[in-house]
């Protein structure tokens, strides 16, 4: 009897111990040597009962326990569209696919991203600028459409019960400076841009000096200034907004690396009678991080939005590994190129009126925040491309190459201090530095959305819509991007953009 009584007391021991006074005193004043052991036993009993209760709830129907331990984070076994690459381009395509589906859960979209921290992703390491000052009609239209998207971004990407999306858009415009050699190109571009609706104006050197007295107009013959829809914004916010909205619409996200594809292939003949192998991707092998385990995802369409690693993905399919003179021998000409961005603090620098200044020598500088900080950088020469195996920053490059031109063009920057720097990859299209959007002729269900060479972020909303139209509607509906098709690489017909930063 006494044992049962003590057991009962031990079970409700917590309540008793909470009560000050007599019971606590009794416990402390007990002289028996086995009291401590008995207390442990009853305490343990309490824990044992609690564990038993938890196990019982897990065993009851309605809990998610299963005896087969499934690895967390595996992608689904089947998906309609697999998007390789979880940067701003991949999530933009995922969002537009879900937005254009006619029925609820009409397409199952899976986005595969290899790095959950986005430490090397080009999207988040970008300077975040958007401009309409291009020479190609398609680029201008894409930027205009993306600016329109960002104007009404909360109509598109707001999630119920979450904060409104705030891109921190600075409407300061881009100012391009041209020397004697490029002035006529700038004038032709200006005509194209105005025809398509971009709000750009040309300035003479005196007008530049009057608007921006801190610019040294030596050697500047003409300048082009964007009045509207141009500036810079926060790329991480845009990426997150796309991601949150897409996931709220039901897109599956998987952190893993694509290590291979399983395809079926058919023999066919070209018009000239040459035999070709037409491949069709059946499975995408997604390997889990830090593990050898992989999941083959059966899919209908694959979108290659892998940015700087797009070339590797294309190699896995054998694009570029056929005989040299055939279609199969031409690889995807996208490779990573490292670019440095330096954050400098200059107390005498220009204030709110500082635009995104791009000089003809290739360097750029823009204001960052309100505290006299600026972001600057320069594209290196073709022969001096830095090593792309890591993202280490070369500070000598700033001192020897960037700072002299910066000081020459903007004398207030002579007194500055480099407070930080980072490096990021361009998914550089070595063929003609323009996007590659479209299907590959030899792999029937792979779509490309890559090769943007530094202007991917600003075109991402519009490219996402274009790729979604291509997949779901069979052709471009709003902006015709047939000029960006992969075929131009097979026919060796580059479309050059004359305004690369």
């Amino acid at each position: 009897m006494m044992k049962w009584y003590r057991a009962l007391r031990g079970l409700s021991g917590a309540a008793h111990r909470a009560l000050p006074g007599r019971h606590a005193v009794l416990h402390r004043c007990s002289f028996s040597t086995s009291a401590a052991a008995r207390k442990d036993f009853f305490q343990d009993l309490e824990n044992q009962f609690k564990a038993f209760r938890e196990k019982a709830t897990a065993a009851m129907p309605g809990s998610d326990w299963s005896p087969i331990q499934v690895t967390k984070g595996l992608p689904p076994e089947r998906a309609d569209i697999v998007i390789v690459g979880g940067g701003v381009m991949g999530w933009s395509v995922a969002y537009w696919l879900k937005r254009k589906e006619r029925v609820r859960d009409g397409v199952r979209v899976l986005v595969v991203e290899k790095d959950p921290t986005y430490s090397q992703a080009s999207s988040v390491l970008s300077c975040g600028g958007i401009r309409q000052q291009f020479s190609l009609k398609e680029n201008i239209l894409l930027s205009l459409a993306s600016a329109d998207f960002m104007k009404n971004i909360n109509d598109h990407l707001a999630v119920v019960n979450e904060d409104p999306v705030d891109l921190q858009f600075n409407h300061s415009g881009y100012l391009f400076l041209a020397s004697q050699d490029e002035a006529h190109i700038m004038e032709e571009n200006y005509v194209t841009q105005r025809d398509l609706g971009a709000k750009v104006t040309l300035l003479s050197p005196t007008q530049v000096k009057e608007r921006f007295p801190w610019i040294n107009t030596d050697g500047v013959v003409l300048a082009s200034y964007g009045l509207e829809n141009e500036g810079w914004f926060d790329p991480w916010t845009l990426l997150n907004a796309f991601r949150c909205k897409a996931m709220s619409m039901g897109v599956y996200q998987c952190f893993g690396e694509v290590t291979g594809f399983r395809c079926s292939s058919q023999k066919a003949e070209t018009m000239d009678g040459d035999p070709v192998n037409i491949k069709r991707i059946k499975y995408v092998d997604v390997r889990m991080p830090n593990s050898l385990e992989y999941q083959p995802v059966e899919c209908a369409v694959v979108v290659n939005a892998a940015g700087a690693s797009s070339g590797k993905i294309a190699d896995m399919l054998g694009i570029g590994q056929g005989p040299k003179q055939t279609m199969a021998g031409i690889p995807l000409p996208v490779e990573p190129r490292k670019r440095y961005v330096y954050v400098v603090h200059c107390p005498d620098g220009p204030g709110l009126e500082c635009p995104f200044l791009v000089d003809y020598s290739g360097f750029y500088v823009r204001r960052e925040g309100l505290g006299g900080n600026y972001i600057t950088g320069m594209s290196p020469e073709e022969t001096e491309e830095p090593d792309v195996t890591n993202l280490e920053v070369d500070h000598e490059y700033f001192h020897h190459k960037v700072w002299p031109v910066l000081c020459h063009r903007a004398p207030p920057f002579q007194c500055l201090k480099v407070s930080g720097a980072w490096a990021g990859y361009y998914d550089y299209n070595t063929f003609d530095q323009n996007a590659i959007v479209g299907m590959h002729p030899l792999v029937n269900n792979m779509f490309f959305a890559t090769g943007f060479s530094g202007h991917g972020l600003q075109q991402s909303p519009a490219i996402g819509r274009a790729v979604a139209e291509l997949i779901l509607d069979g052709g471009f509906q709003t902006i015709d991007l047939s000029a960006f098709d992969f075929k131009r690489i097979l026919y060796q017909e580059p479309i050059l953009e004359r305004n690369i930063v």
Partner: protein, 255 residues
């Protein structure tokens, strides 16, 4: 986390316009605890997908009012001319204007009715516009961009005026002299940077912009950007956090 779906009416601007703009605001005050209706909706949302769609529809219906107010008066422009169309648009929104060369203001009365006298003068351009408290946004601004002799524009307390609207104001770069942006809840520094195109601006009012973190610093930068312009509405000390005498100094815009 469950922030209110319906916004609260701002006490500073008693204009009726706010009743029709019911959505999550960029409020500077901390979110109040959700009401019973909001808590109920949140619980329902956890169980049913359709609640989200219903809430989306309701916010779409509410934004329909704004869209209807800011439609482009293309037919009016073609039929009566750009000046009459701009005048009609302004009066339809509930604002007032004054033609160049005249001294009387055209305004709707308290019930929203206005006289159509402005049709008789299709060639007179508008010199001053008062759009305080109206629902104008960057789409509706297209109706007014033709008025290239505009001298004064008042946008006090407009809930839909945002940075993209300010970026479009560059069309008035040669004529605008006075601009009032006080109490606009959506304007940030990024939009104020776009005011550099207004070289003739002489008076700029930036008081009570809730999304400005450092009004004093922004005032200094604006004065540097527009040297001939007088910027009012922000003290130099606003936004500064004083580390000495913390008890007596209250940080005015400490967020």
């Amino acid at each position: 986390m469950a922030a209110p779906v319906l916004c609260q009416m701002r006490r500073r601007c008693p204009v009726v316009a706010y009743l029709s703009v019911v959505r999550r605001e960029y409020a500077s005050s901390p979110p109040s605890p959700p009401s019973l209706l909001n808590r109920f909706l949140f619980q329902l949302n956890q169980h049913f997908h359709d609640v989200e769609h219903l809430i989306n529809w309701s916010s779409w219906l509410r934004s329909r009012v704004v869209r209807r107010k800011n439609v482009f008066y293309g037919y009016t422009q073609k039929r009566f001319g750009v000046n009459v169309a701009a005048a009609y648009y302004i009066l339809g929104l509930g604002g007032g204007f004054r033609f160049a060369g005249q001294s009387e203001w055209f305004r709707p009365d308290s019930r929203g009715k206005f006289s159509y006298d402005f049709i008789n003068t299709p060639n007179s351009t508008i010199e001053e516009i008062d759009l305080s408290g109206t629902l104008i946004n960057h789409v509706g601004l297209e109706n007014i961009v033709s008025q290239n002799e505009l001298r004064s524009l008042s946008l006090q307390g407009c809930p839909e005026v945002d940075d993209w609207f300010l970026a479009r104001l560059h069309v008035f770069g040669e004529s605008l002299q006075r601009l009032d942006l006080s109490h606009c809840p959506r304007i940030t520094v990024g939009g104020l940077a776009a005011l550099q195109h207004l070289r003739k601006l002489r008076r700029l009012d930036v008081s009570s912009l809730p999304r400005l973190q450092n009004p004093g610093l922004v005032r200094i930068l604006l004065e540097e950007m527009l040297p001939h312009c007088k910027v009012i509405g922000a003290d130099y000390e606003q936004g500064l956090f004083r580390t000495d005498n913390i008890e007596e100094a209250e940080p005015v815009r400490h967020k």
